[in-house]
Symmetry: D2
Subunit: 347 residues, 4 copies
């Protein structure tokens, strides 16, 4: 860490700052420039120590030169993490496709969609049982019954399942019925939830907060990793910007950037990332070329009548199957494998 | 709600859309323009119905003309809400000042700060017992012990207390020890927490999410109100923008805007809103002129050694007292009263 | 256009608003809902008329249902525009690659880079003679001499040239020496410059302002088109967000979105869009999959010593050639052709 | 400037980087930490040199510790600049009020508005003769005739005038007729325009680009100052964020921040900053409390029929007069003087 002093800081004050640093059992290296003096600070210190230094009189700014996350950093874990859960490998050579409705509605609905996801070549069934909604009067999900419906459909069709968990007290029951725990964008910094997820072993798909920096995103992952659960994957799902034509701005450069900064798998969500069905195909293909380890895509058999109103971003089953056929062809150019098992498009 | 159709939508399709609307027991008023046809939709419908209409073939866009929140809206509650808790009135004629440290550290620290807040004329003692931190290795607060220390200090010096509650399971214990429950910016859409806060009577200070629109903010308040707790106040605490000189961009126009849209009291947080001690005084005065019903301001007796590192935005006690004297003078020009009780500045 | 009235607007006021509309020789269709009344406004009106209506007493909001741009809109020009300039076709089946340095420095530099662009399969040589710089003390480009150097290099190696023009008075001389006129992100709303570019025939590459919406972007294009120059291409080059790891946030969903809204060709700039050399390859491939008609990529033979300091985002020649070989392979999956002419990678 | 090296940079590479720095006649101070090595770089270097260093192999990041602007910086000019133009002093003890319509329309309109501005106590008449408009079909201003109308009205009523200049070629004629040259938000980085404004002596009101950082803003001012014109004032007019209820987000913390970083006067524009008439009063008062040296406020005698459609943010004359009476009362609490000359409110 480096402290940059104000131009006119007198020598006595510089000495006091040095003493403050040394009092914390750290080393201080003073370097005088033509305009400013900087002090290099060396040793083990807590993240808040930087802020303490910044507020010292005479200190203009503080620059951290180490990252605040460790377990999530590629510096300390050069090889890619490959999550292996019941034989599905995420973060390795395979492209992993997670598909399904925004919300689980009925046993028939989720069974039919599971059949279609499997037939198209997907490996994971997505579906929400508990739904985070902006307003209190919107459909809030079918709850635990939905978890059971999903599990049945997943087991029957040979798919892993992923579902969102919104609060610490539901982590255990969600982990009992579903394979992958999804943390939604509004909960990326729900620290109690993250801590609880650190105590289980199920894989966690952590969605980027819609205004979170890469650094905050990786710190949120660090909470789970530090708790003892190494099976974390990151999900880019669009950030909030001034543009309103798309629901969010899908930040595809986040994919290679996060893979540079971290060893964790990175998944892309083109459905929430754009909020428009007609953009999902091109953004899915672009995500794969950007280096994504997988995609999570909304698909619904009757999106016009979906209960959440998110159908506007859901693919129809034939669009989903066609997309997966195209991904099969382009994946190798991004160093990935994906196999639709040559199932014909109309199933 | 209005559905705007694509330019070339044929008449048969228009009829189908009308039938879809009428099937939901709503009225459809078709109006043909030179370039486009629009359909007015009238009746009671769920928030997600709009999205269902938007995704119908032939529909280009949907415009809501009613707000999705009701209880929070001034349309349905023209008079200002004045929260009265143990005699402190928030949202009425009084300017309410909440002051204190980012985090409760020791009994001595919080007692001394409470004394200084009271002496300067403040009505509420702020202090964090549970701290939301970006990274898992930062100081996370002293927990329930901190609640007890705050309560003792508040009782002794005749101040209400406000503290952040981060998870539903801690609501009851926080409400037992503290007066006002604070929902932090990262939890504005922690819906389970909001629902739980709807079941108590203590006032809630709801901080705006750092990327939340006014509409989302008021919908979050609606969760608490709909649960049965009418004592909600809104807190503008800065939004995230591209500017990095300040920690956040304090959106002071939010104050009169929210007071136009809603009847709830609005509080300003110039400490988090700027992240810089030297900006707190001017932004506090500007907040009052913008129409704030109160301020929540960080003050610490030893900010250089605060445990959270947020000391950089904390006022020193003499700055805090001087600020309150100045607010006393300007408050009348914003239609507010504030009385420092003529306590001299050095106490 | 639709005017949405405030809930309690009395009938007399509604009548006055109707009269105001009819006074402007427009039709007003009143439609009363349960909560609000809306008035549909039909006829030919200027863009500012909407604002006039919005500010009428009793009007809460105004919604435009026609776009403010016409010539740029796909509604009025369903087929793709294909710009044909000296045989290079932009916006059709070919993927067009523009490569070169941020700034023209010396005749030898630009000649060698032109040779490498051509050898790798590129069709257009990029290079700046006039440079927009944040501060006045930075290198501002070599001026007209640079235009001459570029023309010589382009002619010798059989490449079109593209260069930025910053001010109306330089349009004619830039158009004399270069083929494609680039409008930089800071000048997207330099309306006098846009108007001047409407009077020439050279193709114009219009970069999106770093905080411009799609609507503003297409309105800027409309200025050029309305002036009589149909040869406009749009360039997504990243927008400004809160994320600082990348120089900008490349908004790849803009590519299919703009192609839906407009018939104009869309180019992607992964160099400025990310500001990091190591992200250019993946974002180039992602751009092609998103549907880009071409790419503009910085390449420099000695980026460590580039005069603008933008070398940090420039590819080395071998990276550039390798990228074009990869694009050749993936372009067909996005419906495009690109031919490196089988030139071996080391030339 | 400080170069932060990658964790594993070998000693030989560090030596090469040192040699690169010394080759540029600068000093390099190497400081090895536990995790990383940093190199302090001392001496005179161009702004682009930092980017050259950043792109060197082994360099992870570069941190500038001096500001890139000099003449605009308070470091080099500790006292406030007070612009004195024909006796009106901007940046000193007086609060300066600039009022008038968005656009000059007719001689009668501007004469009547000038009378009202003067009567209310304002010192400067604002009005646009050349209007920057998003689309080409909107009203573009009345041009040079408008300049003449403004001059006549200003002379008659004893007011300075301010008008926007959009292109270098119009600077001279604008400076002939008007006193203060306004640079609009879209032109903040129109560098040729800034350079031209450096060659005249008239005061320049430079509006912040709607997505410009403080640093970019001050660099834009630097262009004018470096050209030889010291009479520059900065104008905060709102930035673009995700919030759409207000036209822009008025960043009032910019006022004290810019006054800390720079010695130049700072003006606030609550009209464009909010885009809503009903917010102008509270934001004007908040701006003064934030430390503004003046305000530029839209006022129109018939805003419902203004030609630009910006009337929605214009005050009515009685609102304007009432605002100035209130400012007179609060200005002293912000260390400013403003005198309405006790003119009664109805004039």
């Amino acid at each position: 860490m480096i402290a940059i002093l104000s131009p006119s800081t007198p020598d006595e004050r510089i000495q006091e700052i040095v003493q403050f640093i040394e009092k914390h059992e750290l080393q201080a290296h003073v370097s005088k420039g033509m305009e400013r003096t900087v002090i290099g600070i060396i040793g083990q210190f807590s993240p808040s120590f930087g802020e303490q230094v910044r507020q010292l009189k005479g200190v203009e700014n503080v620059v951290r030169i180490s990252k605040s996350y460790k377990l999530a950093s590629r510096d300390f874990h050069p090889d890619n993490t490959v999550i292996d859960w019941k034989g599905v490998k995420i973060g390795g050579d395979d492209l992993v496709i997670m598909g399904g409705p925004c919300a689980v509605e009925t046993p028939e609905q989720i069974d039919e969609i599971a059949r279609l996801v499997k037939a198209a070549g997907g490996q994971v069934l997505r579906g929400g049982a508990f739904k985070p909604r902006t307003g209190p009067y919107a459909f809030q999900g079918v709850g635990v019954e939905g978890l059971k419906m999903m599990k049945e459909a997943g087991d029957k069709h040979g798919l892993l399942t992923i579902t969102e968990v919104m609060t610490p007290e539901y982590v255990d029951i969600c982990a009992e019925y579903a394979d992958i725990m999804q943390v939604g964008t509004r909960n990326m910094q729900n620290f109690d939830l993250l801590r609880k997820l650190g105590t289980i072993k199920n894989p966690v798909l952590l969605k980027r907060g819609f205004s979170a920096t890469y650094d905050e995103f990786l710190n949120a992952a660090e909470y789970i990793l530090a708790g003892g659960n190494p099976n974390v994957m990151l999900c880019e799902r669009g950030i909030r910007t001034f543009e309103t034509y798309t629901r969010n701005t899908l930040d595809l450069a986040a994919i290679p950037s996060l893979k540079t900064l971290s060893h964790l798998p990175v998944i892309s969500d083109p459905s929430h990332g754009t909020g428009r069905r007609e953009l999902v195909e091109s953004m899915s293909k672009a995500s794969v070329m950007a280096g994504a380890d997988g995609l999570i895509v909304e698909m619904h058999t009757d999106p016009d009548n979906s209960m959440t109103g998110d159908g506007v971003q859901s693919l129809y089953p034939d669009q989903f199957a066609k997309l997966l056929h195209e991904l099969e062809q382009i994946a190798p150019f991004a160093g990935k494998k994906f196999d639709t098992k040559k199932v014909p498009l109309n199933v």
